[in-house]
Structure formats: C-alpha cells, structure tokens
Subunit: 210 residues, 2 copies
C-alpha cells in the first residue's frame, strides 16, 4: 500500500470501485420496481447511462449481475436496518429496534418497491438456481437474527423462557412483511402502524409474568 | 332457453365455455409459477396445446387474458376457501375456518405456487394498470371479508367489542400470507402450524373477558 506503484494505481481503482458500487445501487433500486428476472445488462445499461460493453467490463453475465445486486441490497439493508438496531442496550430493545428500523426503511423509501428481499423472494420462489438460493439464504438470515435476539431476550429475562423464540420471530416477521406488502400497494402509513401495534402486543404477551 | 334454436346451439356453447374455462384454469396455475406478466397468449398456447390463433378466438389481447385469469383464480379461491368456511354456524368459527381453509388450500396445492393473489400482488405492486387494479381489489375484498366476519363475531359476543376488527384482520392475514411465503419457499408444513398457533393465540387474546 505504501509503494509508489500502489499509490499510482489507487485513484483508478477507487473510481472503478465507486462506479461498480453506484451501478449496483441503481440495480438494487430497479429490482424492487421491475423484478430481478428483468434485471439484464441491457436494461441496467439504459438506466445508468452506460454502454452494454461498459457494463460487461463489470459483470460477465446476467446471473453475475443479479448475484452482485443481491449482495449490494444486503449491505444496504444491514447498514440501514440491522446495524442501527443492534446498538440498543438490551436484547428486547434490539428486537423492537429491528422491527422499528425495518418499518422506517420502508417509510423513507430506501428501496422504491419496499423490502428488497420480500420482492425478490416472491418473484423467484418457484425458479430454482443460484439467485433463488442466495436470496432465500439472506431472507433466512434475517429470520434467524430475529430468533437469536428473541433467545437473547429470554436469557436476559425480558421474554418468558417458556415461549418459542422461533414462533415469536415468525409472528414479528409476518407483521413486518404484511405491512410491507400493504404499504407498497397503497403507500398509506396505516399498515406500518398496525404492525407496530401488533409487535407491541406480542412483546407484552410474551413478557415474563411476575 | 326452451326454443329449438337455443337447444341446437347449447351443446356448441357448452363446449366453448368448458374449453375457455379449462384454458383459464391452466392459466391460473401457470401464473403462480411463472408470473402474470409472463402470461402471454403464445406462452399459454404452448402450455394448453392450442395454436396462438386458437387462443386468440378466446382472448383478443394479453391484457384480456390476464384479467380473465384473475376472475378464474378468484372463482377457484371462493369455491375452495371462502364458501366452505362461511358454512360454519358462528362468526368466530367462520373466522377460524377462513384461516384454516386458506392454510389447507396451500397444503393441497390448489395453485402450484401458493396463494394466487399474494403471488400476483407481489409481482405487479409497482406496475399500474387494469390488471394491477383488479388484483389489488380482489386482495382488498379478502381483507374486507376477514374484517366483516370479525365484526360479526363482536356483534355475537365471541370477540371483545373494544378490539379493532381491522387490526384483527391485519394480523390474521399477516400470519396466513407469511405462512404462504415460507411454505412456497421450502414446502415445509412448519409455517402452516406456526400460523395456526398465532391465529389461535390472537383469537383467545381478543375473546371477551368474563
């Protein structure tokens, strides 16, 4: 890194990285509106104002582009939803914060078509292949995170240890994704508030009885 | 109907109706696997073994075919889920039965890609037009039905009148559609049972306190 050759190369590299990154951010936005199957190099080239051959320098196939877009969307989701939520001091607060940050990322339109992975999972649920598998593994990671944090809350004594953490995660995720589906359909905030009410009722229901 | 002309025409009409109906049933199955935007006259012709011109005799455009497919799917859903459930004697039993029949129609694969309207709504939520509008109106009818039956249960005294019927409908629908999404992804029955548990807990929670 401190060699002259490294120094002279780094500006060009930085530009390449930035360019690839901004192309993939546009791809992630496009996917939530037009679908991941419609994400071709030709379609994305039009959207970012590059030539098809310019894009082929970054991605050698449609599938490589689709997989890279999933990783970018996952990184955006972690930065916008997961990382801020995990800063809360107790596990039950982290669980509430994961839900709240999810609802807020819908409301501020991080992706124009709502939750990126709900949109992709619904589109490709019956289309086997590497894109399908990676998308579903990211969805499973999110559900696994809700379960893990629910178990941490049981360990710290803020959720009844007799409750099933996987059931709690299922219900929380159900409220979030139903709010997403309804919000995307009509852009009303009512489903976001219905999800908040349901999350609050569930977490009060599963609190330890004194 | 009793005239000779009517009699001589009716066999031919019956054949046309049956043929159109069976074509649309195949179309409804195809849509839950391949999507409604991919439902073209050419694609459907291959699937049902008719010529494109043969299908054009039934549907003059892709949009007409898509709209007719929505009506067929709605009719199938009513016959398989709604009508059996509405035979239950009390409103709270009808509400439970609507949920249970929904889960069973997933489990027995009425549509190969799970809930027809969840699949279509997720695909076209950001694509305005008559197909979008009709699909979302059918989704809204289902949610409206859950609300209406929840209100009937409040009137008969099996759900607390202080509860918000729209919130109950939101939560029930959230469990059902989340079970659908997970069931379609991995064909495990676990999410169907998680939905049953959540539905049961909700309906016990909102029962009137004695």
């Amino acid at each position: 890194m401190s060699e002259r050759a490294g120094q002279s190369e780094s500006p060009r590299r930085a530009t390449d990285v930035k360019s690839r990154d901004s192309i993939l951010q546009e791809a992630a936005r496009l996917v939530t509106v037009e679908g991941i199957e419609g994400l071709s190099i030709a379609r994305l080239a039009t959207s970012v104002g590059l030539s098809k051959s310019g894009l082929f320098a970054h991605f050698r196939s449609k599938e490589e582009l689709q997989l890279a877009t999933l990783e970018t969307a996952d990184r955006i989701f972690r930065a916008e939803v997961v990382e801020p939520a995990l800063r809360a001091p107790t596990a039950v607060e982290r669980l509430r914060a994961l839900c709240e940050e999810f609802l807020r990322h819908l409301d501020r339109g991080v992706f124009p078509g709502g939750c990126f992975f709900a949109s992709v999972a619904a589109e490709i649920d019956t289309h086997p292949g590497p894109v399908h598998d990676r998308a579903l593994s990211i969805v499973a990671e999110w559900l696994g995170l809700l379960q893990t944090v629910a178990r941490q809350a049981q360990a710290e004594g803020t959720i009844d240890p007799g409750e099933d953490a996987a059931q709690i995660a299922f219900q929380l995720d159900a409220y979030l994704l139903h709010a997403n589906a309804q919000y995307v359909a009509d852009r009303s905030r009512e489903p976001l508030d219905r999800a908040r009410y349901a999350i609050d009722r569930l977490l009060r229901n599963v609190a330890p009885t004194r």
